[in-house]
């Protein structure tokens, strides 16, 4: 399994630019981590339920009511670029 990790490809999926040096370094280091994790294959997990969570609570609902929350000014207070009470995003359509 470990041989299949392609750091350059995964970095694209993760929207993360890596330098050539970082790509090489992570390829080696994460290869070692995945090799270590190979031992999970020793176990028979047939019929075992996957634990997404350590405690059995599911589907916590609340009434769909408006609550006091951020004003637009508060929500925008940390925005790197903003104008007219809006976040400025990078152009998404040509």
């Amino acid at each position: 399994m470990a041989g299949e990790l392609d750091v350059a490809y995964v970095a694209q999926l993760a929207r993360l630019h890596l330098t050539a040096d970082e790509t090489r370094l992570f390829q080696r280091q994460l290869g070692e981590v995945l090799k270590y994790a190979e031992k999970l294959k020793e176990l028979n997990v047939e019929g075992v339920e996957a634990a997404a969570h350590p405690v059995p609570i599911f589907n916590v609902f609340r009434e769909d009511n408006a609550r006091d929350w951020f004003t637009a000014a508060e929500a925008l207070s940390n925005a790197p670029r903003k104008a007219n009470n809006l976040f400025i995003v990078t152009k998404v359509v040509e």
Binding site: M1, L18, Y36, L40, V45, V55, E74
Partner: protein, 491 residues
């Protein structure tokens, strides 16, 4: 007792002085500030602290409240309205929290003053605090060594008497391990016991906020303030919070403590092994019955942890997109370029490494082999603890396989760094509670005393029992009274 000695007090001791009006909250805060100014340039625990704002709170403090007028340091990933919350990351440099976490509201309801933003591994990813993008934090017992991590700033500050107590977070040991390496008490609550609302998420199914303190009593006392149900955290447990200080002082007769045979592994430092075995004998002499137990899937915990924690982190960190908050790359071409460069410039190496690993184990074709399989093994690990706790009330082990290591010693080998969590991260996978208490010292080659931590694990929601056992042990020893040599911290 002079004003100068105030910072050495525990939270409970300071509370008594404040209640008797022998000291005012403003005097306590000023004494703390003076010691921070004298000592923290050697330690590097504080990323920021705002004396003027805290002083305004101190002037109005109600000392009849449980934590009235007591400053509590906060790891820099828990939001306090108006204060920075950077997670020690470049991507959040300059970020000001527009709201407060539930734990902060609860601290304030109890009269405490959140004071100081503590250094940490970036986004809590690390075991030494060396992954901070801002500064190095040094171990107060030996300045050439790490304080542990990721809550290393919180731990070092409490150890150096530059904080009365602190909040940290524990995702795989990030409270217990730095507490052990810094010679203080660190407590990880059961999953769901303390609200995560307002905590910047690393791995949502593992993260818990908890106290780092000088004594077990302080730890229980802080837990009384921060535990409880919160409708703003859907994983918060809606069960009553007992008074965690109630069982303190009870003896250990009738208590059964398990010694997991899988934890007696090679590679544990001999001084750690010997201190822990001496502590086990001490627990026995206090009336506890020691029983050997088995946690058969122990050997798989690190693998499961680093698959699940990185998977959750890769999803949680997707929010850092350079639009709503945080760093944004300049002069980008496409939208893809905007994201990829913003994140490349904002995140440090360990965060990038974990995003890559987490994205990989969740990606099409590998999900079943890694992520799903790891979740199943997580269930096996959880069952190991359920079975063990049918036989015993608590488990005992070292907190960390070694005392504090040298700065730089493990930074080039991520796998070695990950193995520093070998005794702690199964508790996060299983959702149980645990504590680290000081249990002795190793000696470095240069003759410095290096603290050793004893870990006690309890079943989910059995924190009272863990506090009882830890307190009985602590009070029967002098380890918690030891302080870093004054020549290290000479003011």
């Amino acid at each position: 007792m002079t004003k100068r000695d105030l910072p050495a007090l525990s939270i409970v001791e300071l509370r008594d002085f404040l209640r008797r009006k022998e000291v005012s909250p403003a005097e306590a805060l000023r004494a703390l500030e003076e010691r921070i100014n004298a000592v923290d340039d050697k330690i590097g625990a504080y990323l920021a602290h705002d004396l003027a704002a805290a002083m305004a709170e101190a002037e109005k403090a109600d000392v009849t409240l449980p934590l009235g007028g007591i400053p509590i340091a906060v790891k820099d990933l828990i939001n306090v309205e108006g204060q920075q919350c950077t997670c020690a990351s470049r991507i959040l440099r300059g970020y000001r929290a527009p709201y407060s976490a539930t734990v902060i509201e609860k601290l304030r309801e109890n009269g405490a003053i959140p004071f100081g933003r503590m250094n940490m591994d970036e986004f809590a990813m690390g075991s030494s605090t060396e992954n901070s993008s801002v500064q190095v934090t040094r171990n107060p017992w030996d300045l050439s060594r790490v304080p542990g991590g990721s809550s290393g700033g919180s731990a070092a500050a409490v150890a150096a008497d530059i904080a009365f107590g602190a909040l940290g977070t524990d995702t795989g040991g990030s409270i217990r391990q730095p507490a052990a390496l810094s010679g203080i008490v660190g407590f990880k609550p059961s999953y769901g016991r303390v609200s995560r609302f307002g905590l910047v998420a690393f791995a949502s199914s593992l993260d818990q906020i908890g106290p780092l303190t000088k004594t077990v009593h302080d730890s229980a006392f802080l837990m009384n303030a921060i535990a409880g149900h919160d409708s703003r955290d859907s994983t918060s447990l809606n069960t009553p919070v007992p008074d965690y200080t109630k069982n303190l002082g009870h003896d250990l007769k009738g208590i059964r403590i398990g010694l997991p045979k899988e934890y007696m592994i090679e590679g544990v430092d001999p001084a750690v092994k010997s201190a822990v075995m001496t502590a086990v004998k001490q627990l026995e002499s206090l009336g506890a019955e020691i029983v050997e137990v088995s946690l058969p899937h122990t050997d798989y915990a690190i693998s499961v942890y680093y698959i699940l924690a990185t998977a959750e982190a890769s999803a949680n960190l997707a929010r850092f997109d350079g639009v709503r908050y945080g760093h944004r790359a300049e002069n980008v071409g496409s939208l893809f370029d905007h994201y990829a460069r913003t994140r490349a410039e904002g995140f440090g190496a360990e965060v990038k490494r974990r995003i890559i690993l987490g994205t990989y184990v969740l990606s099409s074709g590998y999900y079943d082999a890694y992520y799903l399989r790891a979740q199943k093994v997580r269930e096996l690990i959880r069952r190991d603890f359920v079975r063990a706790f049918e036989k015993v009330d608590a488990l005992v082990s070292p907190t960390s396989p070694s005392p504090a290591f040298k700065l730089g010693e493990k930074t080039t080998d991520p796998l070695q760094m990950y193995l520093a969590d070998i005794f702690t991260n199964a508790a996060n996978l299983a959702g149980i509670c645990g504590i680290s208490v000081p249990c002795g010292f190793a000696e470095s080659e240069s003759g410095k005393k290096l603290p050793i931590g004893l870990q006690l694990l309890g079943k989910a929601l059995d924190e009272s029992r863990i506090f009882q056992i830890a307190h009985a042990y602590e009070q029967s020893t002098d380890w918690h009274r030891a302080r870093p040599a004054s020549e290290v911290l000479a003011a």
